[in-house]
Amino acid sequence: MAKELFVSKADELADGDRKIVPNGNYEIGVYRVNGELFAYQNVCPHQGGPACEGLLMAKVEEVIAEDKTYQGMTFNHDEMHIVCPWHGWEFDLATGDMVADRKFRLKKYDVVEKDDGVYVTL
């Protein structure tokens, strides 16, 4: 049976919160965003930076008009990015994929809420 790692009491991980919990030699970053839980190993596949300790930012998109002219940039809050603080590599919060080169990804864990607690399945 898979081992479970206790992250926090459910009410201590509010929407928009992030918690970093030790797990062996590394840590796991657990997020609750828009009611959904996500968990990733705190190791960037680039050079090993603590990706989950960086900013959580909305995807930046370019605004192009019908005539193909550039109209500026905007944030898309439907796609949130984990940004590694070492070099700025960005990862899709929903999948862990590195957004600029999807052959790289953060190690993803299943995470559940039960019995008033949040748990990561190891």
């Binding site: 090993g48 960086g54 900013l55 959580l56 909305a58 603080p85 700025g88």
Partner: protein, 409 residues
């Protein structure tokens, strides 16, 4: 401290500690046994502007010292006559959080300079034994319209650096900043500081508009050659440059800027036969990555075969001279096809000519594992690139860290 994460929201950060930020580098160090390997970083930085009040006290000229005192204190506005700025976004608009957070970092209130504390924290985490320490904002001082300002400020900085930092911590060394826009001041800087403790060589920031072939520099090259120390050209960028001013995304400004100035100087160095005029002068190219070298090797060889009359001092192909130059590794490109990187290593004779560098704390820094984990290098090659090549180049005494050091075999 709060960092905006979009136009409405912010992320709060309570503390910042370099050792904690770099804990995964320390784990890599331990997993790879790098504590037992000589690691020399040929390019890292500090923020000398944070010590500017100390530095300006080393300015000789009383009028300029007073001026600098005014501007390093409360200031009189946004402008500063000594610093040459450029628009930029090195920290990817705050995403590389050590930039905005560094001012929060606490260091012990003791006799050791804050710069030494901060440097040793990341060096220890990565397992780095010695570094060549360079400034940060001063990397744009070569763009100052008045050569005197570069000469005065760099002399004060070099006095402060050698007396207050390098003398106090033997693991910190430098290749001394040269005020290249003033050839006579450059020569005098080499004369006056060449034998100072911790000065392992000399460094010209490439981002400027002075050609390396000017006769005014020949006496300086001769002197450096005679000293047996290397001369490095350090890449940088300027968004104010007329060519780079055509780029509107900093990723392009950076990708081109940090390469193109070094590329121009290297081409001039070769085409004017400077390797033949100064055959014992070791030249290093810093912070342009590696991919530009095979490009120029092929480009120059091709043109030289058709136009050798324009470079009559050369006795060999440009690529052969380039294969005898030294290169710092960072920011090392990681191409999709690793064969490309392996071929690049072969072309630049990486086993003897490549020296690892971190560029820490800057945004595109490399940790030692970028070299250590390469599958096509054997252990001797890894050790050469990560420390031994630099030790030989600088004739570095490593006995305080490795009393029984033996070069890798």
């Amino acid at each position: 401290m709060e960092i905006p994460t979009d136009h409405l929201n912010k992320m709060s950060v309570a503390e910042f500690d370099t050792s904690k930020l770099m804990i995964n580098a320390a784990r890599q160090r331990d997993q790879r046994g790098l504590e037992d390997v000589l690691i020399v970083d040929v390019d890292c930085h500090h923020y000398e502007n944070e010590s500017m009040r100390e530095i300006v006290e080393f300015i000789d000229d009383p009028v300029l010292r007073r001026t600098a005192q005014v501007y390093s204190g409360a200031g009189t506005g946004a402008n500063n006559p000594f610093m040459m700025g450029s628009p930029g976004s090195q920290d990817v608009a705050g995403r590389v959080t050590r930039y905005p957070l560094r001012k929060m970092e606490e260091t012990p209130e003791d006799d050791t300079h804050r710069d030494i504390h901060l440097s040793l924290r990341w060096m220890d985490a990565m397992g780095v034994d010695y570094v060549m320490l360079f400034p940060t904002p001063m990397l744009l001082l070569g763009l100052h319209p008045v050569p005197e300002y570069e000469a005065v400020m760099s002399r004060a900085y070099n006095r402060w650096l050698t007396e207050k930092i390098l003398k106090e911590e033997k693991r910190l060394k430098t290749m001394l900043y040269l005020p290249f826009n003033d050839p006579d001041a450059t020569y005098k800087m080499v004369q006056d500081f060449g034998d100072s403790e911790g000065v392992c060589g000399f460094m010209v920031v490439s981002t400027r508009y002075k050609p390396v072939y000017d006769n005014a520099y020949m006496k300086t090259y001769s002197l450096i050659e005679e000293m047996g120390k290397p001369l490095a050209f350090h890449g940088s960028y300027s968004w104010n440059d007329q060519l780079l001013g055509n780029t509107n995304r900093f990723l392009v400004t950076h990708a081109l800027g940090f390469t193109i100035f070094n590329a121009v100087h290297l081409c001039n160095w070769i085409a004017n036969g400077l390797p033949e005029r100064f055959p014992k002068l070791n030249v290093m190219w810093i912070e342009s990555g590696l991919a530009w070298v095979p490009w120029l090797m092929q480009r120059l060889d091709n043109d030289y075969r058709m136009r050798s009359s324009e470079a009559p001092l050369l006795k060999r192909l440009p690529s052969e001279y380039m294969g005898e130059m030294f290169y710092s590794s960072q920011p090392m490109e990681m191409p999709h096809n690793p064969d490309v990187l392996e071929m690049t290593f072969k072309m630049i004779n990486a086993e003897t000519q490549l020296c690892w560098s971190s560029d820490y704390p800057h945004w595109d820094m490399d940790v030692p594992s970028v070299i250590w984990d390469l599958p096509f290098l054997d252990e001797k090659q890894k050790k050469n690139i990560i420390g031994e090549n630099a030790r030989k180049l600088y004739n570095l005494d490593v006995s305080d860290r490795f009393p029984n050091y033996q070069p890798p075999v």
